[in-house]
């Protein structure tokens, strides 16, 4: 095995892409839940989910979103990570850090409507007909949608269906590039500026780090799979 100047060639396999997709599905779901109004029962479920995900996250420990994810999962362990009062102050209507994508697009209503329409199209194209108590551009809905796409990707990897994997990767890349990657940085800055509780700041930061990484990864894997027809059987 030879190494390039930045060590481009390494032999250690980290695990299967399918397992990675399942893990990402879990993190996205957990992150989606963390921006919903706090409920004691849900927090307990989230803490359990975080514990379970931490047991499986060894494969990701050298990826850049690992530390933000770990810090977020640690912040979930607090007794009362988020009060309803804080939630309303920050994420409620008229709050300091609105969790809706359309809030970060400026005052032009048409641009806001276009984003909402684009999101609804994306959900429909993926075969979903969701109802939105918080609106289709709420951070929880967008993260939950990413969780769904990762689940679809994981299933395709498990079936060995590279064509379907590529389709899902394209969807993920398009959705991340068109939505989450665009507005999460501004959302994180708002939360930081509003002295939000750690669970929200670390959750938003982890979501930012994960979406940035996934956006590039989806494109990379798609390009890699484009060579699939020339693969040796064996």
């Amino acid at each position: 095995m030879s190494f390039g100047p930045r060590g481009e060639v390494k032999s250690r396999a980290l695990g299967s892409w399918g397992r990675a997709a399942r893990f990402r599905q879990g993190i996205y779901r957990l992150l989606a839940s963390s921006f919903l109004p706090p409920q004691k029962e849900r927090w307990q479920q989230m803490q359990e989910a975080a514990k379970s995900l931490r047991r499986q996250d060894k494969w990701a420990r050298d990826l850049p979103f690992y530390m933000p994810w770990r810090e977020f999962s640690a912040s979930l362990g607090q007794k009362e990570p988020l009060s309803l009062e804080d939630y309303n102050r920050l994420l409620g209507p008229g709050g300091d850090a609105p969790p809706w994508e359309s809030s970060y697009l400026g005052p032009i209503l048409l641009a806001q409507a276009e984003v909402v329409a684009d999101l609804q199209q994306a959900y429909l194209r993926a075969g979903l007909h969701p109802t939105f108590p918080h609106g289709p551009d709420h951070i929880s809905v967008e993260l939950e949608f990413m969780s769904y796409l990762c689940g679809q990707e994981a299933e395709a990897w498990e079936r060995g269906d590279t064509r379907e994997v590529r389709r899902q990767l394209k969807r993920e890349g398009k959705f991340l590039g068109g939505h989450l990657c665009r507005w999460l940085p501004a959302f994180v800055r708002r939360l930081e500026g509003a002295a939000a509780p750690p669970v929200l700041v670390k959750g938003a930061y982890a979501a930012w780090a994960l979406t940035c990484h996934d956006y590039d990864l989806a494109r990379l894997l798609d390009a890699e799979l484009a060579f699939a027809p020339t693969i040796d059987e064996g």
């Binding site: 060590g7 850049p64 690992y66 940035c212 590039d216 060579f227």
Partner: protein
């Protein structure tokens, strides 16, 4: 962004002792530098120790025997310990000290360079990292496809919106990028991440330092260069990209993202210490900016020759299999202990002025990073377009005491030509750019290059335009414009009785 309490840790492979580098001396030198230093036995053959020993470090420097080419593998272990890929450096001590007359001194200098570079780390954001898959060396099996190859990471620039002057028409980064990775849309610069090769050309070209690429920021490169000059004891300075192995012998390697990211200021500061070489990775290099680097080197040579000096500038050195062969440079006097900025508006001028001292010098050169805006006062109408489009503020426009002033500050001019492009009177020769260095103009500071009376609205007293502008319009439109109403009333008062 930068954290003053940042923990810089150095892991030192004990085996360097066998290569003639006393570990105890290196350790005490590092302690003097105020960093955490640890010695690890057999670190090079067993790099997995890094994953344990790097825990808690914000910045990690691994001092190995020879292993520079395995930086990616070592970085992976560092990442496991929570160290960002951008906060990690490898210094192959035994390799770089080969052929040097005083190896311990060079080893200490190289470690000091890495430490100062680490301390200059500006902090990173998630967008600054881009993963890439390792290139396939051979045909792959289906089983291999379905398993995770290791990922490695490259820094990628982001645009600091508050500093960016794209809204005013600046396109320096867009024009500099050889990969068309930067686009301007509605006054906002967008980066196409997939097209970017992290060559850093845009980062160094931006006069506002609005492009941020942690790991390769101008401040980090400057810190490393400054340390090379201060600790290098007159050794030559070799600018190399990550594709090239750090050279041995009496050369200090300053790492840059690409040869094209070596500015004239960096070259001139480096020349104050001694010889200078720039490595070009040739086949691996995708930036295609060879001519630009050669022109810069030639400009530095011409400038120093004009000053009666005999610079030791090695012509651009092509790498073979990631290695460059450099001649033994003459060891010179110790270089300066502090240098100015190496990027941003005014950096090149500062370097040139510090080198030329009191000499008066005029040098026209295609590779010059500076220029002089030559304004023809008889054709200029003081419309101010040039001043508003100037990305560095070299041209300025001001109205005071009933007069309009156009001023020019030569140290800020980067000869981008934006002013000429925006000038509505360019065909009449109202403004031209002369590319070169004129030290007298550089020392003059800001000076007025054109001025004119302002004509005020006869009704409300609001300023309408300069007298030259009105006279030009009258010349263009003839009798149609000569009515007093058009020329002597402001927009709001037109149509109202005088």
């Amino acid at each position: 962004m930068r954290d003053e309490r940042m923990t810089v840790r150095v892991l030192l492979c004990q085996d360097v002792e066998d290569k003639g580098l006393p570990v105890a001396s290196l350790l005490s030198f590092l302690q003097e530098q105020g960093v955490e230093a640890q010695v690890a036995s057999q670190l090079c053959p067993h790099p997995y120790q890094i994953a344990q020993k790097a825990k808690g470090a914000d910045q990690l420097i691994v001092a190995t025997c020879y292993r520079w080419e395995a930086a990616g593998e070592l970085e992976e272990y560092a990442r496991r310990a929570g160290v960002s890929p951008l906060a990690f450096q490898v210094v192959p001590l035994a390799r770089i000290c080969e052929g040097d007359p005083r190896p311990l001194e060079k080893a200490q200098a190289s470690l000091a360079m890495a430490v100062l570079r680490a301390r200059a780390f500006p902090g990173a954001r998630p967008e600054n990292l881009r993963p890439y898959l390792l290139p396939r060396q051979r045909r792959i099996t289906r089983r291999a496809l379905f398993s995770l190859s290791s990922l490695s990471y490259r820094p990628i620039p982001t645009v600091h919106r508050a500093r960016c002057r794209a809204e005013d028409g600046c396109r320096q980064c867009v024009h500099t990028c050889p990969h068309e990775a930067l686009e301007e849309e509605g006054g906002i610069i967008q980066l196409r991440r997939e097209a970017c090769t992290s060559c850093g050309a845009c980062v160094m070209a931006c006069p506002q330092l609005a492009l941020e690429m942690p790991g390769w920021s101008p401040e980090e490169v400057r810190a490393e260069l400054e340390a090379a000059l201060a600790y290098g004891q007159g050794r030559g300075i070799a600018f190399i990209c990550p594709q090239i192995a750090p050279p041995g012998g009496p050369w200090m390697a300053v790492r840059v993202p690409c040869a094209s990211a070596v500015s004239v200021a960096a070259l001139l500061f480096a020349l104050q210490g001694g010889a200078v070489a720039v490595g070009h990775c040739r086949h691996q290099c995708q930036s295609g900016l060879r001519q630009v680097v050669e022109a810069r080197l030639d400009f530095c040579r011409s400038l120093l020759t004009a000053l009666g000096k005999d610079p030791v500038i090695i012509p651009l050195v092509d790498a073979t299999d990631g290695h460059i062969d450099l001649p033994v440079p003459p060891l010179q006097e110790r270089g300066p202990t502090s240098i100015g900025p190496i990027a941003g508006a005014g950096a090149d001028a500062q370097a040139i002025l510090s080198l030329t001292g009191d000499h008066l010098l005029t040098l026209a050169h295609e590779g010059a990073p500076l220029g002089v805006a030559q304004v023809d006062e008889s054709s200029c109408t003081l419309c101010s377009s040039c001043a508003f489009s100037c990305p560095t503020g070299a041209l300025g426009y001001e109205e005071r005491e009933g007069q309009a002033f156009l001023s020019f500050e030569a140290t800020l001019c980067i000869a981008c030509g934006q002013c000429v492009e925006s000038c509505p009177e360019r065909e009449r020769g109202a403004i031209a750019i002369w590319r070169g260095v004129d030290t007298a103009t550089l020392r003059e500071g800001r000076k007025t290059v054109a001025k004119d009376e302002m004509v005020s609205c006869q009704r409300c007293g609001e300023r309408v335009a300069t007298a030259k502008m009105l006279s030009r319009l009258e010349g263009l439109l003839g009798a149609q414009f000569s009515s007093r109403r058009m020329a002597q009333l402001c927009q709001d008062c037109r149509g109202l009785p005088l």
